[in-house]
Structure formats: C-alpha cells, structure tokens
C-alpha cells in the first residue's frame, strides 16, 4: 500500500512538472542532446538495481550453495562493479564535463580537469579500463552455466540409473 502510494506520488509529480512547463506544453516534447546520456546513465543504474535483486534472490533461495549459481552470483557482482565504473566514466567526461579528453597522437591520451580537481585524471584513466570488470563478469556467467550443465547432466544420469 505504501509502495503504491509512493509510485502514485512520483507519477503525479512527473505529470505535474510536464504539464506545468509552459514551453513544453506548447508543442511536442523535444529530445535534445543531453537526454541520451541521461537515459544511458539511468539504464546503468537500472542494471545495477536488477543485478542487486538477482543476487538477493539467489541468496534468499539458497541457490548459492550450488557452485553454478554461486558463479552466476559473482557474475552479477562484477556486472554491478562494471556499471559503477562506466557510470563514473560517463559522469566525468560526458555528463558533467568535469574532464576534457582528447588524443594528441595514436599512443597518448590527454586528460585535463576543469578546475582544481587533482587526482581525477588517474581515476578516469583507470576507469577507462572497464573491460577488466565486464569480461570477468561474462567469464563467471559462462563458468556458472557450464557448471549447471554438468550438474544437471549428473542428476539426469542419476535419475536414469535409478
């Protein structure tokens, strides 16, 4: 009941803000350039949320006692870390323009912070290596599924043997 009331409030506020915007009310809503990055960032947050939910249910249902599902749990965890990583990268260079990045030549990358934000360059540089998180995530998924295939094979043979 409480959740429903919250959801209703969000919808009312959203509709209210849209309807009370005089400019927008005059024509079809325009979708300018910043919308893309906002939608993308929200997708990252949604992905983090859904992976968190997956971990929660895997643990509640005690599926993590089986190696296969445990590996899938690790995969979800690495996906969460990867999403945080990419979220930070997008935040720094595209969303808020905290840094400006360019490639002076093939072998080098120039990272320049706007303002006095020392240390952000190194954080950005490391965060750009995001495949170090998403590849292990897929590797754990693959391993987990492989283990499940093996376990179901053992069970099926066991049943047949019986």
């Amino acid at each position: 009941m409480h959740k429903m009331r919250m959801a209703l409030s969000v919808v009312v506020i959203f509709l209210g803000s849209v309807l009370l915007d005089a400019d927008a009310a005059m024509a079809t809503q325009a979708h300018g350039a910043p919308e893309g990055i906002y939608a993308h960032q929200m997708a990252h947050l949604f992905f983090i949320f859904s992976m968190g939910i997956l971990i929660y249910w895997l643990r509640i249902r005690k599926l993590v006692k089986e190696t296969g599902w445990r590996f899938i749990q690790y995969s979800a965890l690495f996906f969460i870390l990867w999403n945080i990583d990419t979220f930070v990268v997008h935040l720094l260079d595209e969303q808020f323009g905290i840094l400006s990045v360019d490639y002076p030549d093939f072998w080098h990358i120039r990272i320049q912070p706007h303002g006095n934000l020392n240390g952000m360059e190194l954080l950005y540089y490391l965060a750009k290596l995001d495949h170090l998180l998403c590849v292990p995530a897929l590797l754990f998924l693959y391993s987990g599924l492989k283990r499940l295939l093996k376990e179901t094979g053992v069970k099926a043979n066991g049943v047949e043997a019986q």
Binding site: A43, S50, L145
Partner: protein, 497 residues
C-alpha cells in the same frame, strides 16, 4: 595530464572480443541446457537473459571496435552518425537484460511449483500404473479377504448358542440366527420372521419400551432381564444386551441384540435355593427332634409304669393309654424328622430295586383298596443290585406310591418305571400318576416338613420330607415334574455303587 593510450586501446579491443566470445559461449551452454530439459522454465529464462547479454555484447563491442578502427584510420566523421545508434542500442540492451533479470524470482517460484506438481503427478501416475498392472490380483485378493471375513462372521452368527438378532430402530426384525429361532421355539414351518416386530416376543410390553428408550438415549443396553414368549405359549427368562449400529442415514440405523437364555440357570438357582432351604430346615429339625426325643421317652416310660398299677377297666387306665398313644405318635414324628435330617446313617445292603418296588406294591394292594387303579410297570432289567438301606428305600417308595394313589383318587393310572443310565452310573425310578398335579406355587414347598395339601388330620406333611432326607443320605436326588391338570411325576435318582 598526458598518459599512455595503448593500455586503453588494448584492453578495449581484447575485452570487446572476449565479451562477444564469452556471451556466445554462454548462449551455447544455455541452448544445451534447454535441449536437455526443454520444459524447464528456468532455462527459458536464462536463454532470454543470455540472449540479451549477447546482443548487448555484440552491439557494444562491435561499436567499440568499429569506433577504434574508424578513429585510428582517420575517419572520425564516419563514426559520428553511427555513434548515437550504437549508444541507443547499448542503452536498450541494458534495460532489456535488467528487465529480464527482475523476473528471476517469479520464474524460479513457477519452476518450483512445476517440480512439485510434476512429482505429485509422477507419484499418482506410478500408483495408477501399479493399480492398472495389479488390478485383477488386488481385486481377487480383496474379494477373497472379504469372503473370508464374511464367512467368519457368518459362522459366528450361525453357530452361536445365543440368539443374535438384527433389528431396525423401531424393532422390525432384519435377521435372526438359528439359535434365536430355536430359543423362540420356531421351526422351518413357521412364516419368515423377517419383518416381524421384536417387541411382540416380550411377555411384558413395557420391558420392550424400556429397552427401546435406553438404546435411543444411550446407544446401548446391557444385561436387561426379561421374559420372552415362546411359540408354544410358555415363557423363557432371557438376558438381553443390545447396541445401536449407526448407518449412513438415521433410517439405516440398526440395533444388534444378543439374547441369552437364562431359564436353565434360573431353574438351577431355584433348585440350589430349595436344597439350601431344606438343609437348613433339616438341621433345625434334627436339633429340635433330639431335644424332644428324650423327654418323650421319659413321659412314655412313666406312663407305662403307671399303666401297670392301674386296672384295665378303670378310667385312669384309658387316660394313660391315650397319653401313651400320642407320645408314641410324637416319637414317630420325631423319628421321621431325624430321617429327614439324615441324622442316622443308612444300613447299606445289596437289593434289587425292581423287587423292592414289587414288595411295596404288594403291601399296598394288600392293605388298601386299589382295584380301580391301573398299575403300569416298566422295569429296566439291566439294573444291577444296588447298595441301599432296604427299609428306608421301601419307605420312600411307599410314600411316593401312596401319594400317587391319593392323587389319582378312585380311578386312574399309576406308572412305575425304572431306567439304568450306564453313562452316568445312575438308576432313575419314576412314579407317574394321572391325578390333578401340583400347583406351580406349591412345587417349591412340597419337600418342606409339615407341608401338606391334604385335609388336616389326613397327613403329617412329613412323607416327602422324609423321602427327600433318605434319598439325599444315599447320595441321590429326588425331583418332581408337574403341571396342574396333567398329573405329576416324581423321579428318584440313585447312584449305582
């Protein structure tokens, strides 16, 4: 800050390729899982999940690789229009995979429910299969068990010595076992008892009402004593127990009665009570007789002494004679009482009972007029000589025959019979007359001392009491069967020693 770009290019390219490889390998394994168990909804779910990831890996990695190639080859302008598509597809795939992931718990619950249902169906299927394969055998087995059970309970019903009666709540008889038919004096010629009311067999209708009320109230009745009417009009004493058997509906309720015939037991109890009573009277009589006998002897002695001194024609002599006569009479009564009380041991000697009866008959015919009375003799000549006190046994026979003669009156029949029961080692002597018989309420008193139905002065009422005492002192028994208007039969049972 300027840093080396190579690690970024290298990780980006290698990672992109590995993402595609691992996502497709994962997809392949899920296909294998799905192939192994096509109906497993979890694998269907994982297939969607991996498909989303693979699509995401392709869109993202292809985009990254293409981007690097175009940028490195100096075609940044070409990448510019592709970039929004690549980003949008990436975003869409995120949302797709995330959305699919949210359904994991629901899918898992569905899968668990399916597993449970499957197990239940499997168990039911196996049971059905077993029943199907063994149905004939199971039916035969159950039928045989049912037949055996039916036979067993039918046998109990058939061979029970007590009446088993099944009736509806209103008393309508549903079934009655053979013992019940016999108890009620019914045979094959009677109309079927089914449908008759049990209540009509009760001598007292109120007893049946009590039974019905108790069963209706408490569901059972225990050891209720009552009289049941037998077909020939007589009554039997019965002990009734019954319990209500609840059916599927109130109309289907039945009452199961167990009825015991306690007529014989009651008769034996009466006989025992009679024997006890006679034994008590005997003890009392013996005590009184002993106390009276001595004074009587003294009175008789002094009377005889006084008689010697008196002249025969004197009035005093006649008075003394009267005293002597009555004292002797008293002494005879005392002697009879002692005989009844078995106080004197019989003097046993070997005698033939048939000859003894003949002697007594001869004596009676000699001393009293019995010309219109028919004497029927039925002697069993197999009877061996018996060890008896001849004088006392003859006294018993004399009492019985004289009683019979008195009962018959001027005309009638007296039947005298003897019978050897070799199995019981006993001899029965029966004296049967065609007189009026004995009233039912007098039957229990006839062996009591001084009980007599004869007019005052005609009998002392000690004849049968004395006979009872003599027979008991010989280890035998005496009893009577009689119905008013049908004569009486006295039976003396003596042991063959």
């Amino acid at each position: 800050m300027i840093l080396q770009a190579f690690p970024i290019w290298a990780v980006d390219l290698t990672g992109s390729i590995l993402m595609i490889v691992f996502s497709f390998l994962s997809l392949r394994i899920v296909f294998a899982l799905k192939k192994r168990d096509p109906n497993n909804v979890v694998w269907t779910y994982m297939l969607m999940f991996c498909f989303g990831l693979a699509a995401f890996a392709v869109s993202r990695s292809a985009g990254h690789i293409l981007k690097q190639i175009l940028l490195l080859s100096g075609h940044a302008a070409v990448w510019a229009p592709i970039r929004p598509f690549s980003g949008a597809i990436n975003t869409f795939m995120f949302v797709f995979v995330g959305s699919v992931t949210l359904f994991f718990e629901r899918v898992w619950n569905v899968y668990q429910q399916i597993l449970k249902d499957k197990q239940v169906i499997q168990a039911a299927h196996e049971q059905l299969l077993y029943l199907n394969q063994n149905l004939e055998g199971l039916v035969t087995e159950r039928s045989e068990a049912l037949v055996l059970s039916e036979q067993k309970y039918r046998r109990i019903f058939e061979v029970s010595r007590d009446m088993i009666l099944v009736a509806k709540k209103d008393g309508e008889i549903v079934d009655l076992n053979p013992a019940g038919h016999a108890m009620l004096g019914r045979d094959g010629t009677d109309r079927p008892i089914t449908g008759c009311l049990f209540g009509q067999f009760f001598s007292k209708a109120e007893d049946w009402d009590v039974i019905r009320q108790k069963i209706s109230k408490q569901g059972f009745i225990l050891n209720f004593e009552t009289d049941l009417k037998v077909r020939d009009g007589s009554n039997i004493r019965a002990l009734i127990s019954g319990s209500l058997d609840k059916g599927l509906s109130p109309d289907a309720d039945t009452v199961l009665f167990l009825v015991k015939d306690i007529e014989e037991r009651r008769s034996m109890e009466k006989q025992l009570a009679q024997a006890d009573k006679l034994a008590s009277i005997g003890q009392l009589s013996a005590g009184i007789a002993h106390e009276i006998n001595n004074p009587l002897g003294i009175i008789l002695g002094y009377t005889q002494l006084l008689l010697r001194k008196e002249k025969v024609e004197s009035e005093r002599y006649q008075d003394l004679k009267t005293i002597e006569k009555h004292v002797r009479s008293c002494k005879a009564i005392v002697k009879d009482l002692l005989n009844f009380a078995k106080s004197s041991r019989p003097k046993l000697e070997e005698i033939r009972i048939n000859d003894a009866i003949e002697d007594v008959l001869g004596f009676i015919q000699h001393h009293s007029r019995a010309e219109h009375i028919e004497m029927i003799r039925e002697y069993d000549h197999r009877i061996p000589p018996l060890m008896l006190d001849e004088k006392k046994i003859k006294q018993v026979l004399l009492n019985l025959i004289m009683n019979a003669k008195h009962a018959v009156g001027h005309q009638g029949t007296i039947k005298l019979s003897t019978e050897l029961n070799a199995a019981a080692n006993q001899v029965a002597i029966k004296v049967k007359d065609t007189g009026y018989g004995i009233e039912k309420n007098n039957l229990s008193k006839i062996f009591d001392p001084f009980f007599s139905t004869k007019p005052t002065g005609e009998g002392t009422g000690l004849g049968l009491s004395v006979s009872y005492g003599i027979i008991k002192s010989h280890g035998g028994d005496i009893f009577v069967d009689s119905e008013p208007g049908k004569g009486a039969q006295f039976t003396v049972v003596l042991p063959v020693l």
